[in-house]
Subunit: 247 residues, 2 copies
Amino acid sequence: MTLQRQSGVALWRQIADEIRGGIGNGLTDKMGRLPSEAELARRFDVNRHTVRAALAALARERVVEARRGQGTFALKKNRIAYPIGRRTRFSAAMRDNSATGRSEVISSTKETADAPTRTVLRLEPGAIVLRLETLSMVDGEPFSFSTHWFEAGRFEALPEIVRQTGSITAGLKACGVDDYLRQETRVDARHARDAEIERLRLAPGAILLVTGVVNCDLSGVPIQRSRSCFAADRATLIVDHLDSAGS
Amino acid sequence: MTLQRQSGVALWRQIADEIRGGIGNGLTDKMGRLPSEAELARRFDVNRHTVRAALAALARERVVEARRGQGTFALKKNRIAYPIGRRTRFSAAMRDNSATGRSEVISSTKETADAPTRTVLRLEPGAIVLRLETLSMVDGEPFSFSTHWFEAGRFEALPEIVRQTGSITAGLKACGVDDYLRQETRVDARHARDAEIERLRLAPGAILLVTGVVNCDLSGVPIQRSRSCFAADRATLIVDHLDSAGS
DNA sequence: TCTAGTTGTCTATATTATTAGACAAATGGA
DNA sequence: TCCATTTGTCTAATAATATAGACAACTAGA
């Protein structure tokens, strides 16, 4: 294990990231026990105190738990598999992870559409859009934070339905959209910003997977633009190309 | 702008990441000029020297260039759009970015298949696989680093063809695979490791988009497993669900 | 009960990151 | 030419990070 010194990222944070990634990938024994602090210090070639700083950070994140005299143990956490396909529905995807798929509405506002939203939804300059922010929870922890944009006039009633049902699919149905398909999904990755760290309860410096989605009705008219942020260490996005051919 | 203090990530690195992300997103003026160091220090609420450390890092990455008396300017760099679909071919995708899509072979070895490779390629324990490592360049810079696994017996001749043509598609064709489709793509994101930082010439602490791919022949038999790493600030992955329905 | 191995806590010191201030050097426009 | 604005380069002090060593507290097994 070689670490980057003078990189602007503290050694203890690099070590914490390595250990977090190593859990469930051969670092722990069958009992979920990590190598001892002394052993980790040897492997990373740092002082034991530096390893302790990394483990303390992981303990704050509830990723590991130290037991005096016994060792440090990984707390099991299942990584969420999140499918990306033509017919991806959040609630159905979450049921496959034996988790409840409910989207809580954080805010619902109207605003003039910015350039990317106008392009995607094919709107005139100055058009008003509905902006909906939602947070989804899995196992009582925040899983994804999303911002959705809809044409304002057509989807007046949508926020209230989403608030009641926790489902955007239900909200769209109430506004006359019986079915819809994904046109495109963009995937980026970057460091989490302040607001996202707070909302998703992440560790500082956490990495986000950011997806940008365009949903169209069956006649191909774009009706929804969404941007979702997932904690990269909690989620794996899965594109199933066979499924996306349609069902 | 609020930064995370005592997070294990130095302020100058957080600022560098913010500025890198802000370029091409309204931070610079029409001439590509960034706000002055004093102005940035005010916005981030840090000392000017801290901003200078961030700008120095970006200058080392060739993202910006400072001119005494004039200001600091962004050096334009186009983000590569990399499509993910049933029929994604690297070389074709790169031509759409007006770049040459050539994969250089870094290494070609035989090894006993590990568990994930065995599962994906449906092999017996102890089976031998061909492991091919390739690096792709765009605009003279490393763009992606990939590791591919093939069943050893069937693809004996593949590495030599890839070495000559720079194309895996050509290598597969030489081994009797006229056409193939992606079965599945997994997408993860994480910090770059040491070897990846070196091979892709990244800044320390850079973020990687990691894709895992399974390719099948037309009868659905898996023939190739690949894992590719992209620098997250150079690439956007694009899943086109309409295209992936087949052509 | 003893012992080896583990985490927890303390002191001390060196290195790096950040802040603070001052001034030099270059640019462009009035 | 003068002036305001910009980046470049010093010095110095403070805070955060990393290393080093010693020992206490606890656990499990011999």
